[in-house]
Amino acid sequence: MNSTGTWREYIGWPLLFGAGLLALWYAVKHAFGLPAYTLPAPHEVLAALRDDRDTLTRAALATAKGSLTGFSAAVGLGFALSLLIAAFRVLRIGLYPYVIFMQMVPIIATAAIIVTWLDAGLPSVAAIAFLIGFFPVVASTVAGLHSVPSQQVELFRLYKARPWQELFYLRVPASLPHFFTGTKIAATLAVIGSVTGEIFAGSTARGGGLGFMILIYKSSVNTPGIFAATLLCCILGFLFVGTVLLLKRILLRKWHDSLDTDFNPL
């Protein structure tokens, strides 16, 4: 992936550390004599996954659907609003501060408010995933649209570029790395947002998602089940972020420098 590492290292080391962490997990469990309802062993989590695989698969798909709906809306509408903010000074001065401000709203509060407004189930879950991803996308993209070096802007002015040309030929491509930064955050938060939403609002739907499953397992003190559902949340988030980074790599590979460092957090 970069000049100092080989694929063998990139697979070998994570496997080795993974094995080490699993060993530590078992060691802690045995050292303190913890029962499964306090700390299930990895194999007990896997067993829970296997036992409930049909329910959990349905739940994971429901969560994926809510996350994807909210995430897509966050990226699409967020990008659109960013263009408007870049194009109109009034919006930049008047509206953008509130975008920054809205990023500070805690997700739990968002969830609590949304469920009083919308139907439980997909609508409110997707709305929460949307709201939590929307503002980071706008904040990063607007920052990107305005991070163009002033000489490049002057170049466009010198060539008598029209405002729309400056926006689409200069600012939009220049903002893509920032846009992807926002999108990556939105992808992570979308899954967290839906699960939070489901814990608040998914409970009435049949197939209520992973958050709902966590509630069910909690009420029956099925800790391995909670772990299993949580594991699926992580995998889902990982797939979301991975897809975004892959898209970024495909789109920006030819010209952007930060890709190599960017891939490591994956």
Binding site: P149, Q151, Q152, E154, L155, F156, R157, L158, Y159, K160, A161, R162, Q165, Y169, L170, P173, A174, L176, L252, K254, W255, H256, D257
Partner: protein, 254 residues
Amino acid sequence: MMSKAPEIEFSQVSKRFGAGPLVLDGLDLRAAPGEFISVIGPSGCGKTTFLRMVAGLSQPSGGEIRFGIQSDDARPELAFIFQEATLLPWLTVLANIELPLRLRGEPLARRRKTAERLAAELGLGAAGRYHPRQLSGGMKMRVSLARALSLSPDVLLLDEPFGALDAITRNRLNEDLLALHRREGWSAFFVTHSVTEAVFLADRILVLAADPARVETIIPVDLPRERTLALRESDEFHDAVAEATRRMHNILAR
């Protein structure tokens, strides 16, 4: 294709930023069509400011810059070459070169042909599909030059374009620039910190002083227009550089 380089007349041009001190004060200069003028002076004396005013990126605080021959509404075609190549990293070399034409709405096939011709002329033929990050500093500057030439400019404004390059690359670019100048006939204002470069390129050298801003002088370069590698090694050239250096020091020491 000879360009229709205009005569350019500066009368009592001055510039200050806000309430700051005068950066340029009462500059008078008449540049003949197709003339190559080097601009030299200590850092902060207003060389970039001068170029930006010619380009229309900044307005004089006083006085006037007039372009001869053409009518009032048709300003001559101006191309600005910054110290950094200022390429768009997401575009290929060819796409960078043809950018000005694309902004004018020229169809792809036509502008691509122009870009390919310019790339070949500037020795970038093999690099057409590269992205800027794959280019050396010298090649980037060549792309920047090609882009500036894509609109067949009448006036070229160059702000220390080769300052960051090594001596060999810089000399080669100087010679290529002069060859293009001979053929295309645009006027040029070329800012540099190197007296040798200024002498090698120019018909005349404009010396700007920082303090007081009023002092500016023209040093004519008394060399044949044909400037070659051989000339660079001649006594004649060394004498011209020595003479320009001496006069510049006199001016700046006043």
